[in-house]
């Protein structure tokens, strides 16, 4: 049993999907080995703790994909995305083979392990690969639903698992691959948020109201393909957008929001993300977030600093 509920859901989903689909194969680099044993026992011959050789695991998984299997490669984010990047690019994406990457160690979840175990540029890297899909399922139901919807897409799909899920409750019916979710309706501010930071965005909503801001909260679990329609509709209404994400500023969701809204006149833009520097201090995940302003108060401070005081016109309430 994993202490991380999304990671545990990953293991549970592999078991359930694997029982029904004989083409699902799970390959790990000596991580999550024990929680995947139910899958290994239920699906003999389809679970491989290959070894600590991530590039080779990825190339090998692409070979299995060529043979009609749906491979899932799972280990710590930087070892897949950064070390194995060329294998992802050439063996999956260029050869037009489908596969699934399930990473743990999102951003700085392995906080005190330092930069070797951090990964906050994965969206940016994968966005350079034509056809690559990127998801950030930050609650168990999101992982289960998005995986079932996307694992046979025929494309390379990333499932970035955070160690600290958000606290918002979704039902499976709320989750559709490639579609954002409107969490709250407002009138003069859009908060586009992804990952665990949804909790902070929701927590800030009342206080923003007291500051005169009536905020749309748009939650994004699929970074690519991005629900540009939902984002544009909101920003067309509010003309102000704050993007909150646990990713480097360069190449993150914020860049996509800017591109998506570039032709809308008079839009004010701000973002809360990780500066384009290494996170070198030792701290807990919460400590890193606090220092970087990725918190309820950080959201309030950034709105005040960049947008000033608002004049709320409508507040329809949290959805």
């Amino acid at each position: 049993m994993s202490e991380n509920p999304v990671r545990q859901q990953f293991a549970d989903t592999m078991l359930e999907v694997g029982r029904d689909d004989p083409n699902l194969i799970v390959m790990v680099g000596d991580i999550s080995h024990f929680i995947l044993q139910p899958f290994a026992e239920a699906c003999p011959g389809r679970y491989y703790n290959v070894g600590i050789c991530e590039p080779t695991i990825i190339s090998m998984a692409a070979g299995l994909s060529k043979m009609g299997f749906y491979p899932v490669v799972h280990t710590i984010a930087p070892f897949i995305i950064e070390r194995g990047f060329e294998q992802i690019k050439l063996d999956f994406c260029y050869q037009q083979l489908g596969g699934n990457l399930v990473t743990v160690g999102s951003v700085f979840d392995y906080s005190n392990l330092g930069c070797t175990h951090h990964c906050y540029g994965d969206f940016a890297l994968l966005k350079t690969l034509p056809g690559a899909e990127i998801t950030y399922p930050a609650s168990p139901v999101e992982f289960d639903t998005l995986f079932r919807q996307a694992y046979r897409s025929g494309l390379l799909t990333l499932f970035r698992i955070p160690a600290h899920p958000h606290s918002h409750g979704f039902s499976p019916d709320d989750i559709r691959f490639g579609e954002g979710i409107k969490i709250a309706d407002g009138s003069n501010l859009t908060i586009v948020v992804t990952g665990p930071q949804l909790s902070n965005a929701v927590a800030a909503w009342d206080a923003l109201g007291d500051m005169g801001w009536s905020a749309d909260i748009v939650y994004i679990h699929t970074i690519r393909p991005l629900d540009t329609d939902l984002i544009r509709a909101s920003v067309l209404k509010t003309r102000r957008v704050l993007v909150v994400e646990e990713h480097m500023q360069s190449g993150g969701l914020g860049d996509d929001v800017l591109r998506t809204t570039r032709d809308i006149p008079d839009v004010q833009y701000s973002s809360l993300s990780i500066p384009d520097t290494f996170v070198t201090e030792y701290a807990s995940y919460e400590g890193h977030c606090e220092r970087l302003g990725l918190s309820r108060d950080g959201i309030l401070d950034r709105v005040k600093a960049d947008f000033g005081v608002g004049h709320a016109l409508q507040r329809k309430g949290l959805g």
Binding site: G51, T56, S59, G63, K66, G68, F69, E86, D91, Y94
Partner: protein
Amino acid sequence: MDKDLRKKVVQMVFAGKDGHIPSSFSIVEILKVLYEHCLRFDAQNPEWPDRDYFILSKGHGCVALYVILHKHGFLTDQDIDLFCKPGGILGEHPDCTKVPGIEASTGSLGHGFPFAMGIALGLRLRRMANKVYALIGDGECNEGAIWETALVAANLNLGNLCCIVDNNGSAATILPVHPLKPKWEAFGWETQEINGHSESEIRAAFGRLSFSWEGKPKVIIANTLKGKGVPMLEGHGPWHHRIPDEQELEIIMEALS
């Protein structure tokens, strides 16, 4: 030594103004024997499910493979004429998204071999008897992924996978990997070492292989010479990626006549 196939390699490179002649020359006999005597394929149906799989992991030797694929009907005269030209499907590295008979897009060394291992594992899981061959270079053996794959394939007991090392001397001038035979044996592979330009030795080596779903993976270390057949081209030197001019073309063709 097959001079006619080498001439065709040189003609393609001269016409296309690109290509790696010496790296192609070192694998001519290996490919010739593979396609004439070992591989099951249907050139009219390259995706035939019962085919054997050949992956040229050292993708820069692809002109030799193109010549062989043309000989066996995968490629047309026009495909060959348009090598490295607009509108063509043949580039300086093999591309499985364009070229019939090419199983993997290679060029970046160290990718094709683990990819082939995945195919071999997939075939075993499907209980299919197709064989998998991957051809790597000795220079490519500098790549860590080659030895990762050697470890993993032996650990998985992939008896339906055969690796051929084109031991053409490239690595010796860069980062030596010799002796190769004891290394592969230490990694748990069934190992043979042959003269990679002797068609009879190559054929005999392939004939000794016993493919199975469970068993030691096999490696054939084929001792070859880069640029074999034309003294001016031989060895790991300036001809690695050089295109002959008209005068040099004459010298090469004369040496192959």
